[in-house]
Symmetry: C2
């Protein structure tokens, strides 16, 4: 048996089931080093990653083909997580498997002055994937109930209303044909420390380090509360959250690959039919 085939069988519970946010689940109790549903080790995971990356790429090509043929459906991967959780690596490695033409990538940092002058969903709306595209949000509208809440950037009566706003916004997105894959990435405080230290020890990583990352670590309990509320308030039937332990990068990447594959498979995509008379075109081409 090929190693990747073997590894595939090591998913004892599909990622889509085992990682889905559950009512009553406590983030504070999550083991960030665990590998839910997957009973294999790192080498199994890495072998599987390449195999499933190819599957993801094929499915994405079909989505793109349908988009080019007028299908308005899209898939949007939303990545939320503390610094060093591995959002960037997720994009580089998981999304790196698919055709760049079919990817609409956006990252959301501190709002610009222009963005601040608008409703918090304004910049999100502008970055939504077009039909046939795989959208990727590195951070998202959820910043407005996470960092904004933790740092009191707006009054509580404002941010507390945003959960409902977000749910309504996402309901409309889904109704419009966008499948949301919302991934909450959790890294342990210890692993975060070690990843930050690496950024301080390697000159090719200094650019990834920001002194405010250490300040944010001190606010971890407040962030945990904010993430907990986010999951409790915005994990809906139409746009559920997936809770992904991220201390083992190989695991988080195979997990998100599976979530995307599942989302694409559910679209039940086929190649678009010919919108022309094939035999007539063959004749025209032969004469040209």
């Amino acid at each position: 048996m090929h190693m990747a085939d073997k590894a595939r069988g090591l998913w004892k519970t599909p990622a889509i089931e085992v990682l889905r946010a559950r009512p009553g689940q406590r983030i504070a109790e999550l083991d960030c080093g665990s590998t839910p549903g997957f009973v294999g080790g790192k080498s199994d995971g890495l072998a599987l990653f390449e195999e499933r990356g190819t599957v993801l790429s094929s499915l994405q090509e079909k989505l793109y083909a349908n988009g080019r043929s007028g299908d308005s459906r899209s898939v949007l991967l939303v990545l939320q997580g503390m610094d060093t959780a591995g959002k960037g690596g997720m994009v580089r490695h998981v999304i790196g498997h698919v055709d760049p033409q079919g990817v609409d990538h956006a990252s959301f940092g501190v709002p610009t002055p222009e963005e601040k002058g608008h409703h918090f969903l304004w910049r999100i709306d502008k970055a939504l994937p077009r039909g046939g595209q795989l959208g990727v949000f590195d951070r998202s509208h959820y910043e407005d109930v996470l960092v904004v809440r933790v740092h009191d950037l707006v009054p509580e009566e404002i941010w507390s209303g945003r959960y409902d706003e977000i749910n309504q916004f996402e309901k409309e997105l889904v109704a419009g044909g966008t499948t949301l894959v919302k991934v909450a990435m959790f890294v342990s405080l210890d692993e975060q420390k070690s990843r930050l230290l690496e950024r301080l020890e390697r000159r090719d990583k200094y650019w990834k380090y920001n002194p405010s990352d250490v300040d944010e670590r001190r606010l971890w309990p407040a962030y945990q509360d904010a993430y907990q509320a986010m999951l409790d308030e915005t994990s809906t039937d139409y746009a559920p959250w997936y809770v992904v332990p991220c201390d083992r990068k190989w695991y988080s990447r195979i997990a998100v690959t599976e979530l995307l594959i599942d989302a694409l498979e559910k679209l039940d995509l086929d190649w678009p039919p010919a919108a022309f008379d094939i035999e007539a075109e063959k004749r025209r081409l032969a004469e040209s």
Copy 2:
């Protein structure tokens, strides 16, 4: 000797030299099946492609790192070519080597009603790469002196002025820190016929076929004139064109990979220095 090392030595003249558009060069005389500068075969080319893709990826990461640290420089790959020349495959395979986060991709088809209401450079300007990004244009502002000229979509006194407008526009882009890599991709009429036929014979390729492609074939002499004028008028010292024969996809892909590597190497990028006190941050981190 490793196969890729051997293959690398098979570039007898660097792509950046041998492919650069030359005054007086006649497109009508180009051998689209040739492999200028490269004396190896397909297997050499494929081995080299993987090795050099990794080099490209490393250089792009440095560009991205610098962009994140405030460097406003960027690189913009402009792909122009007739249908089936392989623009999409170029993006998928060459740009597929780099981190999707660092890519600003845009494709330019028939202008939308909104775009038609603006100057032809309006939609281009909006899609320019941000600092640190590798921009990719699948078609570009050159459509406005190619298809527009061939189909008389605007009067000659309008399109004939656009060469100067484009040169001025690109001069400003370059002055602003964007390195332009303009690639004119040429496929022979025979190879185009065979690629179009494949799209009519494979149901996973129907979506790539458009009956107008055959109509455009009949206009090939007019397109050759338009491409010739484009090269003659807009291959400048600051933004030269590269003329890439594309009947052999493996060749065109290694060639464009080399052009991009050369553009990035000329930026002489290093990792951004730490913008903080490293030892002080290590202490703060240890205490956090």
